[in-house]
Structures are given as structure tokens and as C-alpha cells.
Symmetry: C2
Subunit: 374 residues, 2 copies
């Protein structure tokens, strides 16, 4: 005997009243049983639970929402005006988010906005329309307006990346500082003595951390830090080229450079080519992010890869727990970036003095015709 008496093959949803009738109680009792109210006897609770499961009952989120205000939905507002910011990782990130969300019977609404003020409006709208119970905030800035807004609205949120002023925020982050430290140690082990550092944009909070990581690494390796070999605000390929050229022009250039951002590190290839220096031999590079382009260039760029899918998954989990009432200050996690060895780092082939001579020799080096990454 089929259970469906409705005409439609795809039977209509089973509602709480159906369960109530089947269990011989009122819908109020069913609701309380399912929501773990204390004043329900263990006997009826299990009976209702079993019936509900057997009938495949799933409460309708938005019906609950008009009383509770919550729809089991996590919000994600993407910033589209940072060109190519999270582009290569977005797919993995979403996969991680929605997978864990889905496992908990939650869903994800994503919106985009071109930035600043518009983003705040979008967040407000989603909250007002109850289309998001809480938010994932990627790319946190040093002083983030979104955080201020959500805090005053008392809407839960989880940061992807720590804030300087953490306050009572929950967050997940990749330990970029440890990656930077490990990069230095790896280079030191290769035998490098003069190591430069090219940081990312100072408006990002991660930059501060990565700089600290670099310094820690240098200290641990007992290497001198030459302030003239530390620069920052390089987020694009061109900025990376400029930063590298600047270092190479020093009287004593570095034999290796640590980059905080892959995109900038790719610019170093152009700079090296200009002077006829061979990446991985004359100049070693280690970077961070693990964008696909790392594998496109030759030699491949050694980089610390971020597992975006895992990040999404953890963030979703933290947010859900916070919405369910856990204290945000206990909801903090971090993970390490994984080294992706390429050919861009190795033992130094030339001394800083030799490199300086090559650079000063001045003539532009012609790249050969059939290739070259720039």
C-alpha cells in the first residue's frame, strides 16, 4: 500500500499536523517534542520523534521563521570590486560552505556588492528580510564596517581572518604567519643568508601577521634583517615586479625573497627575466596562497597553499554553532597552510655581489621567442 493518497505523485509536504495526527497528539506537543522542551515526557518524545522520522517530516524553515525569526540560512556577501580577489578559490570555498551547511539542513544565500556602503545595505536587507541568520565575512579589513554593523544589529557573524581588535568575534584563519616563518626557515636551510620580504596591502589585517611571521623566521634562523629588503603593498603582478626590481637594485641584493601574496610573486618572474636571472637558481622565491598560476609558470612557484574548501567548511560550522547559541569567544579555529613545493626555490647559485654585478651590468636581457611568462 502506498502512503500517498494525494493525486500528485510528488506528494505534498508532510506538515506538523500530519505528524500530530499520526502520533495522536496536538501539533503543539509535536513542536515541543522536536524542539527539546523540558515539559514533554520521555515516552511521548520518542514516540513523536519516531513518527516524524518515519514520515520524513522536515519543518518548513520559513514557517518557523515568522515566529522564531530564524531560517537556518547562512549569508555570504561577496565583494566584486576587488578584481580577481578570491576568484580562483571561490568555487572551493563555496563548496566547503554549502557542504557543511547542507549536512546540517542549512542553506546558503549569497549576495554580491560592489563594496563599502552598498555592501552594508545588502547585509541590512538580508537581515530585514530574514534571508540570513548570520554571516560569513571573508577578507576582513583592519577596521571593518561590516563588523560594526553586525555587532550593533546583534546578528551573528564569523570572520575569515582574525581582526586586530578581536573583541568578541568568532573567527577562522589560516596561519599565514607560520607559513612565512617556515618559508624563511626553508630558505635558510637551502643556505640563503640575505632574504627579502614583500608584503601585501597594509589595509589587510593578514599583512601585519605575515610580516611578524617573517621576522620570527629570520630570528629563529639567526639571520640579520635588513630593513631595506622589506617592502609591502604588493598585491598585483606589476607591484610585485616593481618591488623585486627595487630590491635587486640594492648594492647587496637578496638571493631569496619571501612573498606574502602569490600574485605579487609572479611579478618577480618578470623582474628576474629582465635582468636575465634564473628563478630558483639566481633568485629563490617562496610565496603564499596557492593560486593555480603557480603551476603555470616555469619553474613552478613554491607556495603555501590554502585549503579553501576546508576553510569554508569550518566557517560554516562555526557560524551555525554560534547562531545556535554558543559563545563566540569559544568559536575560534585556525589551520596551517600546506607547502606546495615548486622549482622556484633552491640553494643559491650566486652570491649577492655577483647578482648585484649582473643587475648593474645593465643591458636588458632578451627573452627567447618561444615562451617566457611575460
Amino acid at each position: 500500500m502506498p502512503l500517498t493518497e494525494d493525486r500528485a505523485v510528488q506528494a505534498t509536504r508532510v506538515t506538523i499536523s500530519d505528524v500530530a495526527d499520526a502520533a495522536g497528539v496536538t501539533k503543539g506537543t509535536v513542536s515541543r517534542a522536536l524542539n527539546d522542551y523540558p515539559d514533554i515526557s520521555e515516552a511521548t518524545r520518542t514516540r513523536v520523534l519516531r513518527k516524524a522520522k518515519q514520515m520524513g517530516y522536515q519543518p518548513l524553515a520559513q514557517a518557523q521563521a515568522i515566529k522564531t525569526g530564524r531560517t537556518r540560512t547562512i549569508g555570504l556577501v561577496l565583494q566584486t570590486d576587488i578584481p580577481g580577489a578570491q576568484r580562483p578559490f571561490l568555487s572551493d570555498f563555496l563548496a566547503g560552505l554549502s557542504q557543511t551547511a547542507s549536512d546540517a539542513s542549512w542553506t546558503m544565500t549569497v549576495a554580491t556588492s560592489a563594496g563599502g556602503q552598498e555592501m552594508l545595505t545588502t547585509i541590512k536587507r538580508l537581515v530585514q528580510e530574514r534571508k540570513a541568520d548570520g554571516f560569513i565575512l571573508p577578507r576582513t579589513f583592519a577596521n571593518d564596517e561590516r563588523v560594526t554593523l553586525l555587532r550593533t544589529l546583534k546578528v551573528p557573524y564569523v570572520l575569515y581572518g582574525r581582526l586586530q581588535d578581536i573583541q568578541d568575534s568568532a573567527w577562522f584563519d589560516i596561519l599565514g604567519e607560520e607559513a612565512m616563518r617556515d618559508a624563511v626557515l626553508r630558505l635558510a636551510q637551502h643556505g640563503h643568508q640575505r632574504i627579502g620580504f614583500v608584503n601585501g596591502g597594509s589595509e589587510y589585517n593578514f599583512s601585519r601577521l605575515r610580516a611578524a611571521g617573517f621576522e620570527n623566521g629570520m630570528n629563529e634562523a639567526r639571520l640579520d634583517i635588513d630593513e631595506s629588503l622589506i617592502t609591502g603593498d604588493a598585491m598585483t603582478r606589476e607591484q610585485g615586479t616593481a618591488a623585486t626590481l627595487g630590491m635587486l637594485a640594492r648594492s647587496l641584493p637578496p638571493t631569496a625573497i619571501v612573498f606574502a601574496v602569490d600574485m605579487a610573486a609572479l611579478g618577480a618572474y618578470d623582474a628576474a627575466e629582465k635582468h636575465g636571472l634564473v628563478i630558483g637558481q639566481d633568485l629563490s622565491l617562496i610565496s603564499y596562497d596557492g593560486i593555480p598560476e603557480c603551476q603555470w609558470v616555469r619553474p613552478q612557484l613554491t607556495s603555501f597553499r590554502v585549503d579553501s574548501q576546508m576553510a569554508g567548511s569550518r566557517l560554516a560550522s562555526l557560524l551555525i554553532r554560534q547562531i545556535r547559541g554558543e559563545d563566540p569567544t569559544t568559536l575560534r579555529e585556525s589551520a596551517k597552510a600546506m607547502l606546495w613545493p615548486g622549482g622556484s626555490d633552491g640553494p643559491p647559485r650566486r652570491s649577492p655581489i655577483e647578482i648585484a654585478r649582473i643587475v648593474r651590468s645593465g643591458q636588458e636581457h632578451n627573452s627567447c621567442e618561444t615562451g617566457g611568462t611575460a
Copy 2:
């Protein structure tokens, strides 16, 4: 005098009852006025509309939903098991989708799934929980189960890409066939006579169209089609390399190749390098997609670029219109891909015979050290 009498600064939402009180009517009347019921006088309708606007009333989607079943939400289920499939375009695509959705006071829920059966389950869940009123279906296959499912569920959907068996589906598509045709004509204008074609995976519906476009172009240019210079199923760089090498090994190789997929076209660079052929001179390439890597290789790959943001925007618009009741067969749009000229195509420098000689001469060509894309 502030309007908010509530304690909370962020006043609670204004509900339909608030508007009703303010307008001096019942909430039933407000509802009918806002939803264009015929039995409301023009006078009260305008009065209610004005009041509602003035008070900033926005109906709560999920409150409406428990009666209407619709939440003003468009669903997007992304397939995550195709590695790097839509990766570079995803961000733009989402931006386009959510922008137009947002402009119409709609939102977007996105889910991911690893494919086939799981994807169907996800769709069902979203429909059951009323978290999506309709779906955008990217990457349509020749025989798509998602379409079958949604059709039987009577849930609206819009295809990104035409189906062979269109039936009553709404769709948006980029005219890949025209791009392929234009590619051939451009090469013919350069003076190429022997032009090869490397198609994408035969399981995709677009492949059939692009092949037709290539043939049309050849016919229009009054060039002979050599079946031995037509191959397919090249979606990755490696497959592109293999396809190219195969063509170059012919007794009379092509001087130019049209690719249906950028990723495969990038493989041609490796193949050319292997034989010491110069892309853009000894071998011209034109491709399709406009992935960022086109600008990374040297010479840059000439490609027809797809405007993913526009595509997302149009798709959202079509879906919303269909959910609002328009006939899907009238909801069909297409757009042209835009030529992105790079240096990978130009007048032929060598004849097919010369190329054949170079290829047969056999010795592997050494790429120079500082570069090479492979």
C-alpha cells in the same frame, strides 16, 4: 521627532498591519492593493501604495511563502566535481546573477554538489524546503537529468546553454557557433588556407554547435574542410597538446587551428614549443572562453570572451519572469562572444609543407631557460 517609538534603535520591521492602520484599511485590503487584485479601487490602491512606500514596507518573503509557496529566491546548484570547470567565471557569474536578483528584491541561494544523483537530491531538498522558487542550470548536458526532474516537479528553470531537445525550456546562451565562424573568417582573411579545428567534449551540447559554426565559417570562406584536421574531446591542456601534435604530424599540417575551448588551446603552446614553432607566426590560434590565462601566455591567446556577468544577469531576469508566469518558450535570449585579440593569430609565415618539414626534422627543440609556458 524620530519615528521610532521602540526601544531598539534598529526598529522592528514595519508589517502589513502597520501599513493597514496607517492607511485606515484592513491588512487584507493592503495585501490586495499591493498584489494588484482587480477589486480594489484606484483611489485606495494609490493611497495604500504611497503609505507603504513612505513607511518603507517590504513584505516578509517567508511569511508570504507559507501561503503562496514562493519566496522570491532563485536557486543555483553548482557542480564541484568538474575540476576548474567554471572556476574563473564563477565570481562574475554570481555577481551578474545576484545583482539583477537583488534589483528585483530577489535573493539567491546557492548549493553545491558533487554531481549526478547528489545534485538531484539537493534540488529536491531546496524545492521541498521552499528555498528556491526556480533554478538556473549551468553547463547543460546533451541529456540532462536535472531538466527531467524539474519538469516533472513543475518547477521553473532556465538553462545556460541550449539543449538539443529544447522542448519548452527557457534558455540563455552565448552564440559559440558564431564565434567559431568568425574565427575561421578572421584566419581566412589573414590568408590561411589549411585550418584545423579542435572541439570540446562531445558530451556537452555546445560542442555540436561549435563544430557547425566552424564548418559554416569554412564554407563561407570557400575553404576545403579536411576531416583529418578536425578532432574533439579536448577540454584540458594536455588533451589540447595531444590534439595539436596529432595535426602537426599530418603530411600537410594546418597553418592555423581554431579551438572550442581555451584550456585546450593553451596546450597548443606546448606542442608548438616542442617543435620550435612560433605561435602567431608559424601557427595561428584562435580560441573561445576568454579565461584569464589567455593573457598570461606569450603571445597572448586570441580568444572569444564570454561575458559571464552579463550572462548571469540575463539568466536571473529570464528566470524571474518565468516564475512570475511568463511562457518559457518566449523566454529565450542569446548574445555574442566578444573577440579579444591577442598575438596568437596573424598571417601565415610558413606554408604547410615547410611546417611539415620542420616537424619531421624531428629534433626536440630546447626552450630557453628563462621562461616557456611549459
